[in-house]
Amino acid sequence: MSYDVLRAISAEHVDALASGATLLGSGGGGDVALGALLLRRMLEREGAEPVPVIASDELPVDALVVHAGVGGAPDVLAERLVDPDDCARAVEAVVAQTGGRLAAVGVIEIGGLNALMGVIAAARLGVPVIDGDLMGRAFPRLDQATLTVAGHPIAPMALVGPLGDTVLVTRSSAAAAQALMVSSAAAFGGAATLAMFPTTAGTLVEHGVRRSLSVCVGLGRAFLAVDADAPATVAAEQIGGRLLCEGRVDQVRPREGRVPGSITLIDRHTGGVVRVDHLEEYLAVTIDGRTVVSAPEVIVALDHRARCPIRTDEVRLGQSLALATLPALHDWPSEVAAAVGPAGFGLRVEEPA
């Protein structure tokens, strides 16, 4: 499905952006509500300019782009308001380390809260935001970003706590960057604002996921336009997705550490037995013992009236769900399936036929 190219983000786009980000979160990516409030407030302020959206190929090849977002515990991020100044500080710390002039801010992941955080950082710094991201959905780990897969460094990386405390990592492997992010976020009370992946517009043209902000807002708009009483099939169609099944949740087996949790429901149309495996995100849908969809494809769970997407932590016993899949924004090369496919999450299912 093609969506209009987005030129700038103003207050009117916030709802669509938040909805689209939630859908692309594949059930994870964190609660967007606080981020949406924050962004709307910034854009509605008197004299506030819309945030320009620019495609990476519209920038000079060597223009500096730094990616901004938040990391840490989803529960903390859902409740603790992020200071946009912290985002700016983190980006500035990375720019100071790399040298040069910041041309634009990039979005780390288009799924969930971080889709909004990139825009918030750009708004505060007064620079355009890149129409793209590094994941094409939500992923829990930094080694699941396109740039990491392509061999680009994550560092220099800056982490800023709510009191302005700053951790600057000048050099790091992907695994160490992940560990440093988790431990710093813990030290900062569970969450931190981040800036990482300093790169050039040319690299993003080659390795970034392109046009994802446009897709996200378009997707959100399409979803918000769905009639409240429309059946799930229609809703799935309108967002360019494919309905997998509809049914009532019969069992919720929570995850145990790194072992994925599973949700069981029975398809009310075919009687098929449906299992959805998840960690933070929905990872795979298995119908009658056969896996039909798995990461990196985006899996969306809608409540029975198609009013809102349901995150993994919101699934309850007895709930009526419609499961749909959205086409992936990025065409991952088959050799990276180990990182972004089910195996990358420790999930041992067969590949969908």
Binding site: Q251, S262, T264, I266, D277, D288, G289, L347, V349
Partner: protein, 502 residues
């Protein structure tokens, strides 16, 4: 032979702890073989697929396994030793595909496959192996308990020896159902039980039934159990025969031993003493003999029920007797004690025997005589002789049960003779004539004499004041013209009072 179903295999002892977690609608599917799951290429058509923990851990992986085995036409899936809990999705899927999923914790998958395979592929092998083990196990057993326990162990099923009326003699409690024809001495199958007759050693009728509980099982297992019962039966029969011979020999031995003690008196031979020790008789101690006879011969027919019941009843009163020895006209029983029993013991014994016999069936017509305590082998002969005499006297009473103690015997006999004589009666008529018309004086006199001349006891017995008694005694003296303080006069009057009876 027909193939076993999944449900049949579930009845095998090795799967006793297995749970059917899903797909119970497919339990009647026939199992052609047992197969260890090695991956998708495993041919599993109509087979019971066995797998360990690996293919089902984490639990979501069971879904794919159920789907693959179900699509490949497996008869069932047995998961062994997995510590995970299956997901609802796997269970629903198994239900949908109607493939039974069996769950067995705490077991070695290799052993399970090894044990189940011959049960499916070659049941006759299992049967031969069981028969062989059963024979080996039964050969060294001597008691009925051991035989039943050994057979239970080998056949891995609850066994019992029961009578036709359902009384359990040995082994686990097993109920016989009414579909069985217990009047026919042939092996039979009830609703949830297999029975095999254990023939009477002396007659061609079942003395008891060897029963085995089977809820449900494959034909092959049923056949195996039936064969197991048939093999166990001769061992039980031979034990019954030995038991009976032993009991008969015991009775004869005791009777002969006792007659030697009685005839030898104090000079018993060494053989006799050794024999007495072997049956638990303490010859050198003090003995109190009992002699028991019954008017009703059937009471003694019931395996000497009367003496055993009396012995048991006295046991409840704290009196331990030796086993009864048949003396032809009755049974001799006795108690032995290191110390000489006192008069109080004799009274307690008499009282206990009276209570005990009163509690036993009256129609048996029990007559018991009790001897006085005597010491040593000669003493045993003496007390038994006294007991027999006492029993003889007791049998002349017209009531049953009758008990007599030889201590009271001499006086009672003498008095009985006197009381019956015409001379005494004539004397009584004459001597007591002055009191005939006055019942209260007569009662006072009788009470006075019986109480040994105590005014206080008489007053208590009659419920009157002492002075009344004294006044009445004065009247009696006046009317009869006798001196109540003269022992001879008192004796004559007492005999007269007793002979009048009233």
């Amino acid at each position: 032979m027909s193939l076993p179903s999944v449900a049949d295999l579930l009845a095998e002892p090795i799967l006793a702890d297995a749970l059917v977690v899903a797909g119970s609608e497919g339990l009647e599917r026939e199992v052609a073989d047992v197969r260890w799951w090695t991956g998708e290429s495993t041919p599993v058509q109509d087979q019971l697929v066995v797998c360990g923990a690996e293919p089902v851990t984490p639990s979501y992986r069971l879904d794919a396994l159920v789907r693959r085995t179900g699509e490949a036409g497996a008869a069932g899936l047995l998961v062994v030793g997995a510590s995970v809990r299956p997901l609802l999705s796997s269970l629903r899927l198994a239900d949908r595909l109607q493939i039974p999923v069996l769950w067995l914790d705490d077991a070695e998958p290799v052993i399970i496959v090894q044990e189940l395979t011959p049960r499916v592929r070659a049941p006759e092998l299992v049967r031969a192996r069981t028969v062989d083990r059963l024979l080996r196990q039964l050969a060294p057993r001597h008691t009925g308990q051991d035989i039943v326990a050994a057979a239970e162990g080998v056949l891995e099923a609850p066994l019992a020896l029961v009578t036709s009326d359902g009384t359990n003699l040995l082994g686990s409690p097993i109920e016989l159902d009414e579909t069985l024809h217990l009047d026919r001495p042939v092996a039979q199958r009830g609703r949830a039980v297999l029975v095999h007759p254990v023939l009477d050693p002396d007659a061609n009728r079942p003395a008891a039934w060897l029963a085995c509980r089977v809820e449900r099982a494959a034909e092959s297992r049923m056949g195996l159990l039936a064969a197991g019962l048939a093999i166990t039966e001769p061992f039980l029969r031979s034990w019954l025969t030995a038991q009976r011979a032993h009991a008969d020999r015991d009775v004869l031995f005791r009777a002969r031993l006792l007659s030697e003690v009685l005839s030898g008196r104090d000079s018993v031979s060494r053989d006799v003493v050794e024999g007495a020790v072997s049956v638990g008789w303490q010859l050198p101690e003090w003995h109190v003999g009992l002699h028991l006879s019954c008017d009703d011969p059937t009471a003694s027919d019931q395996q000497a029920a009367a003496p055993e019941r009396l012995r048991a009843a006295l046991g409840e009163h704290g009196i331990t007797l030796t086993e009864a020895v048949d003396r032809g006209d009755g049974w001799a029983l006795w108690s032995s004690d290191e110390a000489e029993p006192g008069a109080a013991d004799a009274r307690a014994l008499l009282r206990a025997v009276r209570l005990a016999t009163a509690a036993l069936p009256r129609e048996w017509g029990m007559v018991v005589g009790i001897g006085r305590p005597h010491r040593g082998p000669g003493g045993l002969a003496e007390t038994l002789a006294e007991a027999r005499d006492a029993a003889y006297l007791a049998s002349s009473h017209d009531f049953r049960p009758a008990v007599e103690h030889s201590d009271e015997l001499g006086v009672a006999r003498l008095l009985a003779t006197w009381q019956q004589s015409a001379v005494t009666r004539a004397f009584a008529e004459t001597a007591l004539a002055p009191l005939r018309s006055n019942e209260s004086l007569m009662a006072t006199l009788r009470a006075y004499l019986e109480s040994g001349g105590s005014v206080v006891l008489v007053a208590e017995a009659l419920g009157v004041h002492r002075n009344t008694v004294t006044a009445r005694l004065q009247q009696i003296r006046d009317r009869l013209g006798v001196d109540l303080d003269d022992p001879s006069q008192r004796l004559a009057l007492q005999v007269a009072c007793r002979s009048t009876g009233a």
